[in-house]
C-alpha cells in the first residue's frame, strides 16, 4: 500500500492506494494493441522490467510467448539474479536482455546488494554463449562503483566478455527520482547524501568504457 497526498484548493487529501495491478498475459496483449501504432512507428517493442521479472518466471514466460506470437520485439530487463533454468526457459522468447551489472568484485557486490555476483555473471556468460543480444546496464553510483578500482574491474570483465552479441554498455547515472516512492511507502531513504554524477563525469566514464571497444551510451 502507498500513501498519496493530493490537494484540492487548500484542502489536502491523503489516500491509501494499492501500488501495482494484476494483469494476465491477455491483458498485456490488450495494452500492447492500444499502443501498437506507436510501437510500429518507433520500431519499438515491449520490455518486461521490474523489480525483477524473473521473480515471476511462469507468468513472464507466458507473456513473452504471447508477445512473440503477435510479432512484438521483446526485451527483459533483469538483475541477472535468477536460476540458469529460468533464463534458459525465457530466452527462447526474448530478443534482447537488458542486463544489470553493478559490480565486478564479488565482496563489494555482496556488501551493497546482499548477494554474490557469481550466479549473475555465469548467467550472463551463458546467455552470451547462446548468442542472445545483450545490453549491459551499469547504474553509476558515486562512491559505490565509480572508484578507479571498481571501474577497472568492470572494464576488464567486459573486455573479456566482448563478442558480437554484446551490443551495448549503458551507463545509468544515479538519480533521486525514487525518493518520492520511498516516502509513499514509508521507507527510510538512505541515499540522501549521494549526489547525481555530473554530465562531465558521465562523459569521462563513457570515454573510459569506450576502451572496451563496445558501444557505450549514457542513459537508457
Amino acid at each position: 500500500m502507498i500513501t498519496e497526498i493530493r490537494k484540492i484548493g487548500e484542502t489536502e487529501f491523503t489516500t491509501q492506494e494499492m501500488a501495482g495491478k494484476y494483469y494476465s498475459a491477455g491483458d498485456i496483449l490488450e495494452i500492447l494493441e492500444k499502443e501498437r501504432i506507436f510501437i510500429e512507428h518507433s520500431h519499438g517493442g515491449v520490455t518486461f522490467s521490474g523489480g525483477e521479472p524473473l521473480m515471476q518466471t511462469d507468468f513472464l514466460l507466458e507473456a513473452l510467448a504471447a508477445c512473440k506470437s503477435k510479432g512484438y520485439h521483446t526485451a527483459v530487463d533483469t538483475s541477472g539474479y535468477s536460476s540458469e533454468s529460468n533464463f534458459r526457459s525465457v530466452m527462447q522468447y526474448t530478443d534482447l536482455f537488458l542486463y544489470d551489472i553493478k559490480h565486478a568484485d564479488d565482496t563489494r557486490h555482496f556488501e551493497y546488494t546482499g548477494v554474490s555476483n557469481t550466479l549473475i555473471l555465469s548467467n550472463l556468460r551463458m546467455l552470451l554463449g547462446e548468442g542472445k543480444n545483450i545490453f549491459i546496464r551499469i547504474p553509476v553510483i558515486p562512491d559505490k562503483n565509480d572508484d578507479p578500482e571498481s571501474l577497472e574491474g568492470m572494464k576488464k570483465m567486459f573486455s573479456e566478455l566482448k563478442c558480437e552479441n554484446l551490443k551495448q554498455i549503458s551507463l545509468l547515472p544515479f538519480h533521486k527520482t525514487g525518493k518520492a516512492k520511498y516516502r509513499k511507502l514509508h521507507l527510510p531513504y538512505r541515499m540522501e547524501g549521494t549526489v547525481q554524477p555530473s554530465a562531465v563525469r558521465m562523459k569521462e566514464l563513457k570515454e573510459f568504457f569506450d576502451g572496451t571497444g563496445i558501444k557505450v551510451r549514457i542513459g537508457a
Binding site: 493530493r6 484542502t11 487529501f13 499502443e35 501504432i37 506507436f38 512507428h41 518507433s42
Partner: protein, 790 residues
C-alpha cells in the same frame, strides 16, 4: 546556416520595440471618400474599389531605413488603422485601448480629435456592426449575450483565404486582360446577373489600377531617395527597389526579390481594403519561391547573404503589422493581437510527390534565426516527408518558441477532397490561421464564430434557462433530474445544439448578405480563382469553393462533464442529481470530498479510456450533424472545425461550475486537447483519445501537447517525437503542437515578467509572448500537464 546581418538585426529590433499605436489615417481617408459625391452615385463594388483607390492614392508612403521590401499599411511600423465602415470605436473604446496594461495601442490627442470631430459623427449607427446587430433576432442576441457563440463578422470582414500559386506567377496587367475578357463574355440576354457582374468587374479593374499606382508611388519615393543618397551601396539598392516597384505587382515577378515585394503589395492591398479575418498569407512559400530561387542560383545572380537579407526584411514586414484592435466582448474573447499569417512549408506537390525542397530548409533557418511572432509558421508533414525535415522542425520547436506547428498533409488533402475539391486544388492547400484547412488560391473559407458546447450542456441541465443572464435562452427540454437515463440527457443536449446551430446559421446567412450588398471586396476578389471568371465578388460566392465554418469549443471539458454524469449519477449511482446540483450551485464550497472524487476517481478524456472517450465521439457527432452540409447564403455549405484560439477562456468565464470538478468561470479545455492536467497516461494516450473523433470530417482540429525542454536533448528523442507525430498522423490526426517550456520558468515569468520578455508560448494554435497574456491564461498554461516521459 543563416546569420542575421546587421541590417536585418536592426530592422528586427525596430519592429520589436516599435510602439503599437492607432492611426486615424485610413479612417479619415475612407470617411472623406464616403462623404464625396463620387461615392454616392455608384454601385457598391465600384464604391469600394474607389475607396480603396482613394486610400492608396492619399496615404503616406513609408520607407524605413535600410529595408529592402517596402510598404506599410499605416504611416509607420505598428501604426495600426481602424475600419469604421466595419465597426466604429467609441472614444471610450479608444481610451481602453490606450490604457489597458496588456497589448495596449497608444491613442494620441490628434487621433481622439479626429474621431470626435469626423469619424464618429459620420459613422455612428452606420457601421456594418450596427447594421448586423439591428438585423439579428432576439434569440440570436440572447444566445450571444449568454456566451453560446461569438460572432466573427461583427468587427472584421469575412476571411480566411490564402494566396495560391497563380498570383505568384501573374501580374495585375494580366488580370486586367482577364477582366476585359470576362466583361466581353457577359450575356445580357439570358443572364439576370449580367449587370451586377459588369459592375463587379469594373470594380476589380479599378482595384488593379489602384495597386499598380500604389507601387508606383513607392517607386517615385525610392527614386527621390536614391537621388539624394550619399552612400553608393544604398543608392544602388534604392534604385533596384525602385525598378522592382515599377515592375511588380503589375507584371509577374521573376526573381526572389521581385516575388517578395510583389507579394507584399498584395498583402497590403488585402489588409487595407478591409480587415478580413486573420489569416491572409503567402501560403506555400517554399513552393512559390523555389523555382525563381533555383533559376537565380544557377545564373549566379543571388548570393546566400542577399537571399537571407531579403527574407529577413520580408519577415519583419509581417511583424510590423499587428491585427486591428477590437472592441467589446471580442476584445475579451481574444485579447492578443497578432494576425495569423501561417507560412506553410513542405507538404506535397500538385502531382502528389513530396514537396519538401531546399527552400523549405532555408525558410526553417529564417524562422529559427528571426524568432519573431509574425509571420507564424508550420510544417506540412506527409507520409512522404523525410525524417530530416521533421528533425529540422523539432530543432526549432525545442527552443521553446512555439513554432513551427506540425500538420498532417494527408489528412488535409482528404478533408478537402471530402468537401468536393479537385485533387490538385486539395494538394495545393494547407492550413491557415490556427489550424484551418483551405484550398489555397481557390477557396474562401469563413470562420463565423466559436460555439460553446459546454454552455449548451449547462443550459440543457437547467431547462434552457441561463442563470448568469437570467434569460430563458434555450429550449425547455427539462431539468437535470427529469432525465431518467443518460441517453435522455444526450437526446435533450442534441436538441439544444440543433436549436442554437439554427440560430447561428440563420445569423450567418443574414450577415453574409450585408457584406455582399454593402461591403464587397473587389481587390481581394482579384486574387482568388474564379472570381474574375464568374464576375462575382469574394464576399458573394465568387471563388471556386466557398465554405462557412463554425468552431466547436470545449471538447475535453464537455467529455469529462458528460462522463462524470454518466459514471457518478447513472452508472455507479454514487450521487443523486440533487446532491450534484447543490455542489455545483455552491461552486463546490463545502464539497471538497465530492470534488476530489470527480477529479481523481472519475474517468477522463485524454487517457485512451473508451468509457470517457465515447462521450467525445457522441458530442462530436451531435455537433457535426447540427451543422455540416447546411447551406450558406453566399453559396457552399457550413462545416465544423474544432479550435478555440483563446475563446475557451471567455467561454469558461460565462459557464458555472461543472460536473468534472471544474470551478465556476474558469477556462474550458482548448481545442481537442484534454482538460488541463487530467491526461495522466502520457502523450500516446492523449493521441489515442484525440484520434477517436473523425478529423477528416472537420476543417481542422487543434491538439496541444506541452513538453519540457529535456525531451529534445538527443537524437533519440527526435526519433521518438517523430514516431509520435507520424503515429498521430497515421490515425488521421490533423495537427499537433509541442509547447516546450517548464512550469518553473513560467511561474518565474509571472513573478518577474521583466526578466522573461522573450518568453514565447503556444497559446492555442498560435504563439504569443507569455507576458502579454492575461493572468488566467498564464495560469492555465502553467497547469497543463508536463509530461515527464514519452
Amino acid at each position: 546556416m543563416m546569420i542575421l546581418s546587421e541590417r536585418v538585426k536592426k530592422l528586427r529590433t525596430q519592429s520589436l520595440t516599435a510602439e503599437e499605436r492607432i492611426t486615424a489615417e485610413r479612417a479619415l481617408l475612407v470617411t472623406r471618400f464616403y462623404k464625396s459625391d463620387e461615392a454616392r452615385e455608384v454601385s457598391a463594388p465600384v464604391r469600394r474599389a474607389l475607396a480603396f483607390q482613394y486610400i492608396l492614392k492619399n496615404k503616406k508612403i513609408c520607407i524605413n531605413d535600410g529595408e529592402l521590401i517596402v510598404g506599410e499599411r499605416g504611416p509607420a511600423p505598428k501604426a495600426t488603422p481602424t475600419y469604421p465602415e466595419i465597426s466604429l470605436h467609441s472614444l471610450h473604446d479608444l481610451e481602453i485601448l490606450n490604457s489597458r496594461p496588456k497589448v495596449s495601442f497608444k491613442v494620441d490627442d490628434e487621433v481622439r480629435a479626429i474621431y470626435r470631430d469626423e469619424i464618429i459623427p459620420f459613422w455612428k449607427g452606420r457601421s456594418n456592426r450596427d447594421r448586423i446587430m439591428g438585423l439579428m433576432t432576439p434569440e440570436w442576441i440572447n444566445a450571444y449575450n449568454a456566451g453560446i457563440f461569438t460572432e466573427f463578422q461583427e468587427q472584421r470582414a469575412p476571411g480566411h483565404t490564402v494566396l495560391g500559386y497563380k498570383m505568384f506567377r501573374t501580374g495585375f496587367t494580366q488580370l486586367k486582360e482577364e477582366i476585359k475578357e470576362s466583361l466581353s463574355k457577359l450575356d445580357f440576354f439570358n443572364d439576370r446577373e449580367a449587370f451586377e457582374k459588369s459592375e463587379e468587374l469594373k470594380a476589380m479593374d479599378i482595384a488593379c489600377d489602384a495597386i499598380i499606382m500604389y507601387a508606383g508611388r513607392h517607386a517615385e519615393e525610392l527614386e527621390r531617395m536614391a537621388s539624394s543618397e550619399k552612400d553608393g551601396k544604398r543608392r544602388a539598392e534604392l534604385e533596384e527597389m525602385a525598378r522592382i516597384c515599377r515592375k511588380v505587382p503589375g507584371e509577374a515577378p521573376e526573381t526572389v526579390h521581385e516575388m517578395l515585394q510583389h507579394y507584399w503589395f498584395i498583402h497590403l492591398g488585402v489588409i487595407t481594403e478591409l480587415n478580413p479575418w486573420d489569416s491572409f498569407n503567402p501560403g506555400r512559400l517554399d513552393q512559390h519561391l523555389y523555382p525563381v530561387y533555383k533559376k537565380e542560383k544557377e545564373e549566379g545572380t543571388l548570393t546566400d547573404e542577399k537571399l537571407y537579407d531579403l527574407l529577413g526584411c520580408f519577415w519583419v514586414k509581417f511583424n510590423n503589422h499587428p491585427s486591428p484592435p477590437k472592441i467589446g466582448v471580442t476584445a475579451s474573447e481574444s485579447s492578443t493581437y497578432t494576425d495569423f499569417c501561417l507560412i506553410n512549408l513542405g507538404g506535397v506537390k500538385p502531382d502528389g510527390t513530396d514537396a519538401v525542397n531546399e527552400m523549405s530548409y532555408i525558410l526553417l533557418d529564417v524562422i529559427k534565426e528571426m524568432r519573431i511572432l509574425q509571420p507564424s509558421s508550420m510544417v506540412q508533414i506527409s507520409k512522404k516527408s523525410p525524417d530530416r525535415f521533421i528533425h529540422k522542425a523539432l530543432d526549432i520547436i525545442r527552443t521553446g518558441f512555439g513554432q513551427p506547428s506540425c500538420f498532417n498533409t494527408d489528412a488535409i488533402i482528404q478533408e478537402l477532397l471530402r468537401q468536393g475539391k479537385s485533387i490538385v486544388d486539395a494538394r495545393n492547400g494547407g492550413a491557415s490561421g490556427c489550424v484551418e484547412t483551405g484550398a489555397f488560391g481557390t477557396e474562401s473559407y469563413w470562420l463565423t464564430g466559436y460555439f460553446n458546447l459546454v454552455k449548451i450542456l449547462e443550459l440543457t441541465l437547467n431547462n434552457g434557462f441561463d442563470r448568469r443572464t437570467g434569460v430563458q435562452t434555450g429550449l425547455k427540454t427539462g431539468f437535470a433530474s427529469d432525465f431518467k437515463s443518460f441517453d435522455d440527457l444526450t437526446g435533450a443536449f442534441a436538441k439544444q445544439v440543433r436549436y442554437f446551430a439554427d440560430i447561428k446559421i440563420r445569423g450567418n446567412n443574414v450577415i453574409s448578405k450585408t457584406f455582399e450588398n454593402y461591403l464587397p471586396v473587389p481587390f481581394l476578389s482579384l486574387l482568388l480563382e474564379d472570381c474574375i471568371l464568374n464576375g462575382k465578388d469574394y464576399n458573394c460566392g465568387g471563388t471556386r469553393y466557398n465554405t462557412t465554418y463554425i468552431q466547436g469549443v470545449g471538447l475535453g471539458s464537455i467529455t469529462d462533464i458528460l462522463t462524470s454524469i454518466r459514471y457518478n449519477v447513472y452508472d455507479k449511482r454514487r450521487i443523486t442529481w440533487d446532491e450534484l446540483n447543490r455542489a455545483l450551485d455552491s461552486d463546490f464550497v463545502g464539497y471538497d470530498d465530492l470534488r476530489y472524487d470527480l477529479i481523481y476517481n472519475t474517468p477522463k478524456y485524454g487517457n485512451d479510456d473508451d468509457y470517457a472517450d465515447q462521450q467525445a465521439v457522441a458530442v462530436f457527432e451531435i455537433f457535426y450533424d447540427a451543422i455540416n452540409g447546411r447551406p450558406a447564403s453566399r453559396g457552399g455549405v457550413h462545416r465544423i472545425n474544432m479550435l478555440p484560439t483563446t475563446s475557451h477562456v471567455y467561454f469558461g468565464s460565462v459557464t458555472g461550475a461543472t460536473a468534472d470538478g471544474r470551478k465556476a468561470f474558469t477556462p474550458l479545455s482548448e481545442g481537442i486537447s484534454p482538460s488541463q492536467g487530467v491526461d495522466s497516461h502520457g502523450p500516446t494516450s492523449v493521441i489515442k483519445s484525440a484520434s477517436k473523433i473523425d478529423h477528416l470530417r472537420t476543417g481542422g482540429t487543434l491538439l496541444n501537447q506541452k513538453f519540457s525542454p529535456q525531451f529534445f536533448e538527443d537524437e533519440d528523442s527526435y526519433k521518438c517525437l517523430t514516431a509520435l507525430i507520424r503515429s498521430y498522423f497515421s490515425l488521421d490526426g490533423h495537427h499537433i503542437q509541442f509547447n516546450v517550456v517548464n512550469a518553473e520558468t513560467l511561474r518565474d515569468a509571472q513573478k518577474h515578467p521583466e526578466l522573461h520578455r522573450d518568453l514565447i508560448v503556444r497559446v492555442a494554435g498560435y504563439s504569443d509572448y507569455f507576458n502579454d497574456l492575461g493572468e488566467d491564461l498564464q495560469n492555465e498554461i502553467i497547469l497543463r500537464t508536463e509530461h515527464e516521459n514519452i
